[in-house]
């Protein structure tokens, strides 16, 4: 199946007086229709930046300096702004982190959804309104017909995030980028939102890029997971494999530091040190100064991701015998 979204060596750079920073460095991955790809990593690992690069909402001076972005077989990273503007709204939907600020407080939710529909589908105003009501019903807003004329402040955080999901899906996009969609929500609401997002995208065959730092969300929702570290891809693979049998030492460390029910009261392991600053990247593998498995060559060559079997970007990946969990 041809991928909906395809990143090929995507590189984003920010020129500063202290040199060029590379928040996203040669990242490649595909997402096929109906698939949910989780993108995890610590703060500043480049997860959101990669998402913003895909939708063309990078703020200056950040810009794409290398690689390609393909959407449905068409290259979109080199489109003129006007062409990209037309395309991305129709093809890509976005669910933002904070439902408090991702809805305009002075427009009714119905107006905001209808605005998006009118911009992209050839329908009348009345029909756009009907579709907005249908979209609200679909995301589980009770009494949608009565609430379509309410303003965002009349909704709770979880309900607002449902509205945002309706907004992202109403123009029938091929790809949804969800940037930490549950971070601002209560734990009890998080699960509902994730289940909702998953169900709607499955039904429509929408591809989803789910950016988060919450491993629980990934385990719950994603089909595959891409682990990012310091702007680079550390490991990518099916979610069960990556969580249970990590190959990259960083992923293994990440799993070890995630609290889980099975560990009981045991101490969580830490990864010593901190992610390198973008202006002080170590040579070779970005993780080697913190890596327990570093060996000769780690501080010289950045390791590539060797497809398809070895899915980790590591010179000395963990082997089956060393699986941390189980």
């Amino acid at each position: 199946m041809a991928p909906v979204l395809s990143l090929r060596n995507l590189t984003v750079e920010i020129p500063t007086r202290h040199g060029v920073l590379r928040p996203v460095d040669s990242v490649s991955y595909d997402i096929v229709a109906g698939e949910i790809l989780g993108v995890v990593g610590e703060s500043g690992a480049g997860k959101s930046m990669a998402g913003n690069a895909v939708i063309g909402l990078l703020n200056r001076p950040a810009r794409i300096t290398g690689g390609e972005v393909w959407l449905n077989g068409a290259r979109i990273d080199n489109l003129p702004p006007e062409g990209l503007r037309k395309l991305r709204g129709k093809r890509i939907g976005m669910v933002f982190q904070d439902p408090l600020t991702s809805l305009n407080p002075l427009l009714t939710v119905g107006d905001q959804i209808a605005e998006t529909i009118l911009e992209h589908l050839p329908v009348s105003r009345a029909e756009a309104r009907e579709r907005a009501i249908a979209a609200l019903e679909e995301v589980g807003i009770p009494a949608a017909r009565d609430r379509v004329d309410s303003y965002p402040h009349a909704f709770s955080g979880g309900m607002r995030q449902r509205v945002v999901i309706a907004l992202a899906l109403c123009a029938e996009p091929d790809l949804v980028i969800a940037d930490e969609p549950t971070t601002a929500l209560d734990v009890s609401v998080q699960a509902q939102i994730i289940v909702l997002l998953k169900r709607l995208c499955r039904e429509r065959g929408t591809a989803v890029m789910l950016v988060t730092h919450d491993m629980g969300v990934i385990a719950e929702a994603a089909d595959r997971v891409a682990v990012m570290y310091a702007g680079r891809l550390a490991e990518i693979g099916p979610v069960a494999d990556v969580i249970q049998h990590p190959r990259h030492p960083y992923t293994a460390g990440l799993m070890g530091s995630t609290p889980g029910a099975s560990q009981g009261q045991a101490r969580l392991t830490q990864i010593p040190g901190a992610m390198p600053r973008l202006d002080a990247m170590p040579p070779g593998c970005a993780f080697h100064p913190r890596c327990p498995r570093r060996g000769p060559g780690c501080d010289i060559d950045p390791p590539p991701v060797r497809a398809p079997d070895a899915r980790a970007a590591c010179h000395y990946p963990l082997t089956v015998a060393e699986d941390v969990t189980a």
Binding site: F96, S102, L107, E119
Partner: protein
């Protein structure tokens, strides 16, 4: 429907728009602020008096045919020694009824004030939105011009604009365009604070996700600025507009008092004060006092309204 027999209890009437507005926070806070209520009453009365001046004024001070020079310098509420006519607030040196001139003066003062603030608002909001949203060199140019203008007192800028405009209009048109030149001068001298506030608020709103969402769905910059950002930055503008109105009225009075504002053929309150101050030492106090008191009351009431509005719209002070 009214004569249908009523069965059971009538359903409670859906709250009307008026009822809703009466119960809203802002109206509630207004009803509980006596100073604001009194100020609004004063302003409303003055605006009504100005609008209906030709109907209310007992005399037409601009019709030389009705003027009687013998009536000059009549004190308030006293019959004139020669003609026996009585005037509520007395007359000036040419026998014009002070009350009538105040009504017509109020008309000009308020008109200039409102128009100047409207001009400053349109200009300031437009430039502020552009500067804040587009950023880059547009922002730099607009805000540096604003900074430069801010280093001069507004009245000096207004005088400069006034002088230039007078210089380029042909002499025979000067009196006719004087009022418009005045509006232009005051409006242009006052846009900066609107631009600064709108720019600041735009910078905040611009970084919110709903603006990113609007960009994402493909709305153009113009649509985003007008439909999404503008409504969200208007409440501070409302406060500044009210306080600006008081300032504009005072600026107009100052210019007129200095003799470069409204011409004597269309006297505003400032012109009346200028005329009146010449007679203060010879004892005809009423020619100065009543226009000055009117100006004071108007500026004070508008300012107090602005103060209340600022507090009422500030969520932290609620």
């Amino acid at each position: 429907m009214a004569d249908l027999p009523r069965t059971g209890t009538p359903a409670p009437a859906a709250p009307g728009r008026l009822r809703k507005a009466w119960d809203s926070d802002i109206v509630w806070s207004f009803r509980h602020a006596p100073v604001a209520v009194v100020s609004l009453v004063v302003v409303t009365l003055m605006v009504l008096a100005a609008v209906f001046a030709p109907l209310i004024a007992p005399y037409d001070p601009f019709d030389p045919g009705t003027l009687n020079l013998m009536n000059g310098f009549t004190p308030p509420m006293e019959p004139n020694a020669f003609t026996g006519d009585t005037f509520w607030l007395g007359t000036d040196d040419q026998g014009r009824d002070v009350f009538s001139t105040i009504l017509f003066g109020l008309r000009i003062s308020l008109f200039v004030g409102f128009m100047a603030v409207a001009l400053a608002m349109v200009l300031g909001i437009t430039l502020g939105l552009l500067a804040g949203y587009l950023g880059g060199w547009v922002d730099t140019i607009i805000m540096r011009v604003a900074d430069v203008q801010l280093t001069f007192p507004a009245i000096l800028v207004a005088m400069l604009i006034f002088g230039v405009a007078k210089g380029i209009t042909p002499p025979e048109l000067r009196n006719e365009v004087a009022i418009w030149v005045l509006i232009l001068a005051i409006g242009l001298s006052d846009w900066v604070q609107f631009a600064r506030v709108v720019r600041g608020a735009t910078l905040v709103e611009k970084s919110r996700d709903y603006v990113a969402a609007a960009r994402l769905i493909g709305r153009g910059s113009g649509a985003i600025m007008l439909r999404h950002i503008l409504p969200n930055v208007l409440s501070p503008v409302l406060v500044i507009a009210t306080i600006s109105l008081a300032l504009a009225i005072i600026a107009e009075a100052t210019l007129s008092f200095l003799g470069i504002g409204a011409p004597p053929t269309q006297p505003s309150l400032g012109t009346l004060i200028r005329i009146g101050q010449g007679f203060l030492f010879s004892g005809e106090w009423w020619i100065l006092l009543f226009p000055a008191a009117t100006l004071l009351a108007l500026a004070l009431a508008v300012n107090l309204l602005g103060d209340w509005l600022r507090d009422a719209l500030n969520p932290r002070l609620r």
